[in-house]
Amino acid sequence: MIQHFPVMAVMLLFLGAFLVAIFGRISPVIRDGIAILIATISLVLIYALIKPVMIDGQIISYWMGNWEPVEGYAIGIGYEVDALGLFFALLVVTTFWLSGIYSLGYLKKDANKMHYYTLYLMLSASVLGLVLTGDLFNMFIMIEIMTFASVALTAFRNKQAIALEAAFKYLVLGSIGSSMTLAGVALMYRVCHTLNMAQISSIIGGEFNLTTIMAFGLIVAGLGVKSYIVPFHTPAADAYTAAPTSISMIFSGMVNKAGVYGIIRMVYVVFRAMDRSSIQILLVVFGAVTMFIGVTMALAQHDFKRLLAFHSISQIGYVITAIGLGTALGLNAGLFHAMNHTLFKGLLFLTAGAVLTATGTTNLDKLGGLSKRMPVTTVCFLVGAFSISGLPPFNGFASKWMVYQAIYTKAVESGNILFAIATITALIVSVMTLASFIKVTQAVFFGQENPENANAKEVPVIMQIPMVIMAVLCVLTGLFYNVVEKFLLAPAAGAALGVSNYIDKMMGAGYAKAAGITDIEAAPAAFSFWNPLVWLLLFVVVFLGVYIVMATSKSTRGRMLEGGEGYDPKYATFFSGEQEEFSQVGGSDLFWGFKTDWKGYYKVLQGLHSGIVTDYASYIVMGAAIIILVMFICLR
């Protein structure tokens, strides 16, 4: 019974897409009902797999149409769910389910909601299929469906010119990526005469010849385009900005995670190249560059969603750096950060959507002082912002800590100064992340209230629910870090390193041994750890103590005075004796002192992000060329 769950989850979503398209016209209730119902069933089916896969350590396989391997060759399409695939599947289902709930409120004013839900289910199905499949070509198909659905959803608000522009760029650049993947897949078929990932892994056995190097380079570059590492990141920044916010959340929560999953699957399981230091250095360098460029570009943005988009890119840099270390601790850290990124970035996008709903703009220079009108959104935003900046005790802190420890341990062990530079970059990027969220905090939620937004009000409850769920998850995963590590990260990292089980389950017991496959030997992920729960408890107790003492003491320690209705100069903001007026320090002006020192850097970098699609295409081609070239030099 249980082995049908993964494929059912994927197929139901595809079915749901068609059902919405057919029956959605009847009434809005049926349309929304089908979409949410199907998404919920899919969610339940995937969550039901936690016990057998994560805890009991099973691997679930399923052959489409029962086309099992004949005489040792896997011709049929197989689904294979190990802990690594399931880990990402959990992220995927959580993201699209919450996004679905949020869309119910968010899309109030949009037309063509039927198309939205059709594409939404299509996108969800394709990403879920991508992380669960065990077949290389099937993976490519899912990537293509994912790209299509993403492009169409980016252009969903096609009254806006930027939506069309972003969609076109996404389509062109995404197609180049898919084409590279397809070429790589074709070359792999030439070498192995099979498309099953488990069998390919055992046939090539971690050794490379010219064809497989080319294929490896093409596939990694193609998946790099899907996970938006620099220099492939340009479509992400545009698409996240222009898409409806519920879709931006899906993009950052699962679409680029799908690319990350693909990279992990390829380098660890299929090509088994992670014991080579050249590949480690390649990934770490790409990751470090990605996080730095992402965050510096984010500091220069003056649109809420575009800023978040660049942060998405930057955080993926952390993930790629961590998984590029090739150690168990690094994998744990990378997976944990990927998961946390899904949570806090999804949350931040949802708050951006709430601000957009309430005020009609995401321009940081036109907002301000919303915290009094939108308290729930503000609290959720602050949780997300502190999480992404890595302040204790939120989840970003736990995963970033692991990342630092993983990189620096690696640096000390290998003595390679590149890893030390990567550690420094990671730590500096973290404070820059904090800086740019301080900017958003000041420009959107605090600061002076913009008179234009005087009638903004808190978003409906249906939109608050997903935000609150995600905020709570952000805190919980930070506090109960050990539980996450034990039940999700350790099995997933173990699955990535223990290849022979993956092969044996698919091809029959003993197959891996016969092919001479051995698992990567990795020391268990050991690292020092604090107990955030105790600290949080202490913090809350002391905080409340001091707060109550301060707030209740009236007689001896001074009174608390608050202005009532009407104007009273005593409670007005200080303006050197002048009348109070609106003079918000806008988002664009906030880090003048920083930007003036970096003038030259920003001139070059903003010039490179020219917005011209042909430039972006040439970055992708160049990036792919670099990856392939490095692989040819190092792997031969």
Partner: protein, 119 residues
Amino acid sequence: MIIVNYIASVFLIVLGLYTVCTKKNLIKIVLGLGITDYGINLLIVSIGFNPGGTAPVYYLADLLNGVAPNFFVDPVPQALTLTSIVIGACVDAMALALVIMINRKYKSVDADEIRRLNG
């Protein structure tokens, strides 16, 4: 000669990418994507090709007894090619649809003018 196919496919892929990277007209960019696709399709078909091979329509018994010729064209790449062609057609259709809508909004199909999202 099979080697000609490989050379031609690489030529097509490079030509397509070159078109995408240098031409400023959006329609030409879409054409470039198409050319890349055809190059890859040619590559896949060539991979499955066997000189002198026939269509793979046999009984399993014929194959095992050696009655049938034991070389035939590999059917899997052909299936892949078909899928890829379909996807390529979809890409082109969608891209062209977007170009039409972009033209309505921006009054231009020049990539240099369609850059409101930058920096």
